[in-house]
């Protein structure tokens, strides 16, 4: 069986900071929920059916161009640490981390395309890319969907569209989301107003790891709330437009910070740099918060280094499961915090060199 360590040899495409506005928008992600006619939804599925579904999808994927070389993980057979690693990488959901029954994951080249099997729905197709590129990301996802569709009996209702286990996903089954960094709106206390207007448009705001997670390091996940009635293109356009507006507001807030609180802002940023480059013990929460301040510094050109990719990697790779996989041993939290500090110092050193 494939090993999660295989994913360590390169950086996920969405971490590369090559997309537009990637200083502010970390990633664009689009997922589609699909189910198969003739089977109960995974929650009610027998073990035998769950296995049949996996086999059916595997056969189909073998004939797919987009996922031909994908790595397949039997997620239910992976140890908890490996699953946590996949979660930190945004490849599986919290539900799959705990799932004991048969479930799987396909990971395509550079982690741009992926697919969970037997999560809440039979199939959860995912496309993820760097910066703000929702339209392109959706197009890619749609191509994979088109490729699989003739081979799989998708459950589809003429009036209601794609049928899903939860009626909140019925219709397009589409969730378009972006991960956005809004420190200046938080510092200027404008964020409440912005979030309120996002809610009013009918979009949802969540934390770094999606549904039910907390907001950390000023990272917000914004996505469409409804899936039925609007076409995929309309949903994508809505999230894209709102994102562009928020970016402008964040940029304005940054200008305001420079004008009204230059010294305090610079101090916050330089202190964060000082701690990350010198601390001997660091929790993952500290890394998230301090790298958030450094990110603000780099995008405001107060700091010259590191580059955004290094900061993206810092955010994901310094988390507990990643750290243990990178250092190739299981560690208790206390030991992790020491190793983390050392790892972060080294990465920042390399990051400066790269720049």
């Amino acid at each position: 069986m494939a090993k999660v360590e295989q994913l360590l040899s390169y950086s996920s495409n969405w971490l590369t900071a090559r997309g537009s506005s990637s200083g502010i928008v970390l990633s664009s992600r689009v997922r589609a929920a699909r189910n198969l006619e003739g089977f109960s939804f995974p929650l009610y599925c027998s073990d035998k059916s769950r296995e049949e579904i996996i086999n059916l999808v595997q056969t189909t994927v073998c004939r797919s161009l987009y996922l031909k070389d994908a790595i397949f993980f039997e997620v239910n057979r992976l140890p908890h640490l490996d699953r946590q690693f996949l979660l930190e990488r945004h490849l599986i959901s919290t539900e799959l981390v705990e799932e004991k029954r048969k479930c799987g994951l396909f990971v395509g080249e550079q982690e741009i395309l992926g697919m969970m099997i037997n999560e809440e729905d039979h199939l959860r197709l995912q496309a993820m890319s760097s910066g703000l590129q929702l339209v392109e990301t959706f197009q890619l996802l749609s191509k994979l969907d088109d490729e699989l569709q003739p081979l799989l009996p998708y459950a589809f209702h003429q009036e209601w569209g794609y049928l899903t286990a939860c009626p909140t996903n019925t219709g397009t089954g589409l969730r378009a989301s972006i991960l956005i960094h809004l420190p200046a709106l938080v510092l200027t206390k404008e964020i409440d107003k912005v979030l309120k207007s996002i809610f009013q448009i009918g979009l949802a705001v969540r934390g770094l790891y999606g549904e039910g997670t907390e907001v950390k390091g000023n990272f917000f996940q914004i996505s469409n709330q409804t899936t039925l009635g609007r076409s995929e293109e309309e949903l994508i356009e809505m999230v894209d437009k709102v994102t562009r507006q928020i970016i402008l507001q964040e940029i304005n807030a940054r200008e305001l910070l420079l004008k009204e609180a230059k010294a305090e802002t610079e101090d916050k940023i330089w202190r964060a740099k000082g701690i990350l480059e010198n601390a001997r013990v660091l929790t993952s929460e500290e890394v998230i918060n301090l790298s958030s301040a450094m990110r603000l510094g780099v995008t405001m050109e107060i700091l010259k280094s590191p580059d955004i990719q290094t900061l993206n990697e810092l955010l994901i790779f310094s988390q507990p499961a990643h750290l243990q996989k990178i250092l190739n041993r299981e560690m208790q939290p206390q030991e992790r915090d020491t190793e983390r500090a050392q790892w972060v110092r080294r990465r920042l050193c390399e990051g400066s060199a790269r720049k």
Partner: protein
Amino acid sequence: MLCEFCGEEEATVHLTELVNGKISEFHLCVKCAEKKGVQSPSLSEPFSSLGALLSGVIEELALNEPVEKGTTCPGCGASYFEFKKTGRLGCPKCYNTFQKQLKSLLRKIHGNTRHTGKRPVIAPISAVPAQDLELEKLKKELTKAIEKEEFERAAELRDKIKQGGTKNNG
């Protein structure tokens, strides 16, 4: 989308809440949200705690849908009661079995019940005549054209809809 609570005002407050490991989403109008004590989210208040006061909403909502006692889905054996408990349907056939209840629920959640997006190339046998779908699409375009004040386009669409209408009647 209409408020899930009063069903009268436009729902503008959307909440996602994790209750006992299950994800629930709520859509309320400003008045009902205020009545339920929901504040606009702030950083001091993590999102996960926001809807705590509302955990009963979806159950209450689903309970309002009358369903014949003892009806179970021939596809998976699930009852509507089970759906209310888990928030998850049993199988694709549940959508036919509980059609009436789900239609009203889908409207409350999405503010709409007609899929206008992608379709599989080979679709199952149509429940709605293709002509009706076409007509629905034209009507939507017409509304958009009017909103954008593209009156020439609107007139064109109106005529098309009329033609479709006569065909239907004839």
